[in-house]
């Protein structure tokens, strides 16, 4: 079926059928929060190109896919579920060596998961069970946007998310091995949305690494609206990874919200290669003094793909540091977006904030929009931002070829050199290896596409590292 055949109303919220009844097991506060969130969506509608933060990303095709599915009526288990267990295991591949939790269509699948050692007092649970057993731990997470949501997808998670994962680490708990969460989207009877939600509560002085891998089974469009909330308490350290490898028909929207306490450290690393339309938001609030955040992202956007990266770093306390590097490699008629925003609030004296976005266009049809933004309301701060859009350096390409490296291999070498800076920030070991394998697999078709001769123009293009600020760029700039 084609999505285009479905009609999308001019006002996307018009006629929106949200399952507003809630769930019998919901505690009262949750039922209230769900109704409030659904009402917000009905009142405000979905983001369109008129919304500053959504100028380049269309949500309409995803809205053609219904919210209500059989998964909404309750979580499926292995016994009652309809997914073929065995082939899903194959799809998961080898783990990262630690705990692995699998979420299928937004619902925790214990039979596919591998539990491991956890420090005493640490809780690792499905969100569904946690809502029943320890609702007090989750209640604050549903009120982060009580003053209004940034957009409807964020509200939809509050309205519709019923399952996912809770990682609850007590004070000083240290988990050495990465906690891997695999979020799978599988074809159902019809295309559908899922709203997986991951909550990480890192107690004071605790330490953990969380890796979210989003995988899709090819064959059917689906919509993932994932929300991850991380509370990094005083002195805690959380490293968070998102590997987005959804199927190429699907829509992937994910939000990562992190609140950082005093002297805490948080890092977010993104590798996006999949999906038809993918948007990954990172929203970090540094509200404790001396907190530090690192954001690194790499998106490989091929033909027919669209990757949007929306970032907000909110410096709200004294002496915090933030450092971000995002890189995009865009090929064919792919479209990349970087929308990075740093706010330094009044009183956030001594802030040290840096932001860089660099993009490599491999074809003359590839497009990228990059908008680094900096708003400073405090004195005595060190802030920099910058963006660049370029093509493969023709001098470097010739240098390699003059050394006998064949044209395509030379291109591949230069692209791998370009992405290396971001991959170097991924932790040594299984995480880095996994990311590098994925990058290599996705660069291979990009390189063989170039072999068919689309890049003869870029060979002679001297415009290889043009600095731009808040601009729209297209490959194959006129000479």
């Amino acid at each position: 079926m084609t999505l285009a055949a479905r009609t999308v109303s001019a006002h996307p919220s018009e006629g929106l059928q949200l399952p507003l009844a809630g769930w019998p097991s919901d505690p009262d506060w949750l039922a209230v929060a769900r109704r409030g969130a659904a009402a917000w969506v009905t009142a405000n509608g979905f983001p369109s190109a008129k919304h500053e933060d959504w100028r380049y990303t269309r949500i309409d095709p995803a809205l053609a896919i219904p919210f209500a599915t059989d998964t909404d009526t309750g979580r499926r288990t292995a016994t009652g579920g309809s997914w073929p267990d065995v082939s899903l295991r194959d799809l998961l591949g080898p783990g990262l060596g630690g705990i692995r939790l699998v979420v299928v269509d937004g619902h925790f699948a214990p039979e596919l998961s591998d539990h491991g050692y956890l420090p005493s007092g640490a809780r690792l649970d499905s969100l569904h069970d946690a809502l029943a057993v320890a609702p007090h731990r989750l209640e604050p997470l549903w009120s982060w946007h009580s003053n209004g949501y940034p957009h409807a997808l964020r509200a939809l998670s509050d309205a519709l998310a019923t399952d996912g994962i809770l990682i609850d680490l007590p004070t000083e708990a240290v988990v050495d091995d990465p906690i891997e969460i695999v979020l799978l989207t599988v074809p159902g009877r019809a295309p559908h949305w899922s709203h997986p939600r991951i909550v990480v509560l890192a107690g004071a002085g605790s330490k953990a690494t969380v890796v979210e891998t989003h995988l899709g089974v090819p064959g059917q469009p689906s919509v993932t609206n994932a929300l991850t909330q991380v509370v990094v308490d005083d002195g805690a350290q959380v490293a968070h990874y998102v590997i987005q490898d959804e199927n190429l028909d699907s829509f992937h929207f994910s939000s990562l919200d992190a609140h950082l306490g005093h002297s805490s450290r948080f890092s977010s690393r993104l590798l996006a290669v999949g999906g038809r339309i993918g948007r990954h938001e990172v929203h970090t609030v540094l509200h404790g003094e001396n907190a530090e955040v690192e954001l690194h992202g790499l998106f490989l956007t091929g033909s027919g793909q669209h990757h949007d990266n929306a970032i907000l770093v909110d410096h709200a306390a004294l002496g915090c540091r933030s450092h971000q590097i995002y890189k995009g490699v865009i090929d064919g008629d792919g479209h990349g977006v970087f929308n990075g925003h740093i706010v330094v609030r009044p009183g956030a004296v001594g802030t040290d904030a840096h932001q860089t976005n660099k993009n490599l266009l491999l074809s003359d049809r590839a497009e990228v929009d990059t908008r680094p933004r900096l708003e400073i309301f405090a004195d005595d701060v060190a802030c920099t931002h910058g963006a660049a859009v370029g093509q493969l350096d023709p001098d470097a390409l010739f240098y390699l070829r003059s050394r006998g490296v064949p044209h395509q291999e030379a291109r591949a070498l230069l692209v791998s050199g370009f992405v290396q800076e971001v991959l170097d920030c991924f932790a040594d070991g299984p995480i880095r290896q996994y990311a590098e394998r994925l990058v290599a697999a996705h660069l291979e078709p990009i390189m063989s596409a170039g072999r068919r001769g689309t890049d003869s123009a870029s060979d002679s293009d001297s415009d290889s590292a043009r600095d731009v600020s808040a601009s729209r760029s297209r490959g194959g700039t006129a000479k």
Binding site: Y399, R401, S402, G404, E409, G417, E421
Partner: protein, 260 residues
């Protein structure tokens, strides 16, 4: 080995080489000297296959084959090596990895087995010692943050590693201190054999004090205007390029009010 016959080359509408002819036999080292803008670097780049240069007339035969019909990588595989005047920096690609990738590409093209990482380590270390290059530079990105002298040592290291039959060194000696100059001269000397040849493109006689060429040519206005033995280099050093036809082939704009 190399026969350049009435070579004309342009960039855009500007002709830079205007009927250049030069013959280099196996076993010989030739020096091509000339003032700035005479076409020295263009000659090097045309021989290596750099893109923006258009050959409008003439031919270049390498071992009897049409060199100009070959891609840059085919020329490298056939044994042509260009030492760059300005070696390119390649961020994110470790020097060691680049050197092994290039060597193995050349070996594949030449029908030889690839060299594994461990075996390569020993080969690279031997060459590195010969050019007296800091070991740290092997693990850094290619030429990234290298000093001028370190970049040139890296060029000579590559020349020794890739074992070309025809080495063309484009101003490899420029900006080098005496130690680096000695390394460059020793590198070229070590490649000298009855089966190999080298073209040293240079502005100064300095390198030729360490490395005596078989022939010296003066390039001016896009052509070889004079050829001679090693003594010609000394003469140029004493008297400069004055007296040669150094007309620049670039069309300079006429001065304002010249009435043209």
């Amino acid at each position: 080995m190399l026969l350049i016959d009435d070579l004309h080359a342009s960039i855009g509408d500007t002709e830079i080489l205007s009927g250049l002819s030069l013959e280099v036999a196996a076993g010989e080292v030739h020096a091509v000297m000339g003032p700035n803008g005479s076409g020295k670097s263009t000659l090097a780049h045309v021989l290596a296959g750099r893109d923006p240069y258009q050959v409008t007339a003439g031919r270049v035969l390498y071992d009897g084959a049409d060199l100009l019909a070959m891609t840059p990588e085919e020329r490298a595989a056939a044994g042509v090596f260009l030492g760059f005047q300005h070696p390119v920096e390649i961020p994110g690609v470790a020097n060691m990895y680049f050197l092994r990738t290039a060597l193995n590409a050349l070996r594949r093209a030449r029908g030889l087995d690839e060299v594994g990482p461990v075996e390569f380590l020993a080969i690279a270390e031997e060459k590195r010692r010969l050019v007296e290059m800091d070991r740290m530079l092997m693990d850094r990105p290619v030429n990234d943050g290298f000093s001028g002298g370190e970049k040139k040592r890296n060029e000579i290291l590559q020349m020794l590693l890739f074992e070309p039959r025809l080495a063309i060194l484009d101003e490899t000696d420029s900006g080098l201190d005496i130690d680096a100059l000695r390394v460059v001269a020793a590198g070229v000397s070590s490649l000298r054999s009855p089966d190999t040849a080298a073209i040293l493109i240079t502005h100064h006689q300095r390198l030729l004090d360490h490395l005596v060429p078989d022939r010296v040519h003066v390039l001016a206005g896009g052509r070889i205007v004079r050829s001679g033995g090693p003594e010609l280099a000394a003469e140029l050093e004493a008297h400069g390029y004055a007296g040669f036809d150094t007309r620049c082939s670039r069309e300079l704009p006429a001065p304002i009010g010249s009435g043209r």
